[in-house]
Subunit: 160 residues, 2 copies
């Protein structure tokens, strides 16, 4: 699997991953009704570096890395990861997270923080814990899950 | 003290409050070097409602209220408050927070969350606790304080 910066030619493949995830509305606090242009504006905004995971010419997943805060908070980065439905369970998120930790270290960040991990996304919570992240915050009822109703969101953190 | 929506005519008074706070770099994770236009773009961005606290024609403080997340997180709001140096200790922040809780309830929000309360800002932490907020997260070393070095930031929350 090759992980590299996203390019203009990846747009369609990225849309095929992020749009179903956004529409499902179960893991990201984004408007499920947003259109593709709005989704791109979010996922590939100027403050982010966006990457894709590619195997045999197919984009299996995508992630972004950005500064989580400015000023006195600029030494902590934040990432978001999405894996295409067909590639779930193949270690794509794990590979992307490991890659992002390397990118973050190379950029001089001291820590990585996930601000809003939906607690029902247990696969993600377990994976981040396996990759060294700790739960440093629990936001009560912060996410309205389309099936589960109001569930907690977690803040997860690891030093670099 | 009257608390009302900020208007174009308040710009100079708001700048006199927010610029010294941003320049100090001790309580907000914002670039201390940002110029006034950038500061306004942040404090009065389209996704925010911005208010001022006025007494005897003088603006003593200002705050914003916004949705903290979109989609499944849109039922939680977020605020930021700044009090002018001359008005510190006069209950301006308390009055603004109480006002914001009313505004938030009227808008239908279910909770208010502060994402990044610098732990050395003890006056603020105590005030938010007195106003019903709990610490729901502690972000290790998340803020580089110009004098104290790396200090924790707190996530604070209260139901509405």
């Amino acid at each position: 699997m090759l992980i590299r910066r996203a390019e203009a030619g990846d747009a369609q493949a990225i849309a095929a991953i992020i749009m179903p995830t956004i529409r499902a509305g179960t893991t990201y606090a984004l408007d499920p009704e947003m259109n593709e242009a709005e989704a791109f504006a979010y996922w590939m905004s100027e403050d982010k570096q966006t990457f894709v995971a590619v195997e045999n010419g197919a984009v299996l997943g995508t992630y972004y890395l950005r500064r989580n805060q400015d000023g006195g908070g600029a030494h902590v980065c934040n990432c978001g990861y999405m894996t295409g439905a067909a590639a779930v369970g193949k270690g794509v998120a794990r590979a992307m997270c490991a890659h992002s930790l390397d990118v973050a270290r190379a950029a001089g960040y001291r820590a990585m923080q996930f601000n809003f991990v939906v607690s029902t996304n247990e696969r993600a919570v377990r994976l981040w814990q396996a990759l060294g992240f700790s739960i440093v915050g629990q936001l009560p009822g912060a996410f309205r899950h389309p099936e589960a109703g109001f569930v907690d969101a977690l803040v997860m953190h690891r030093a670099l």
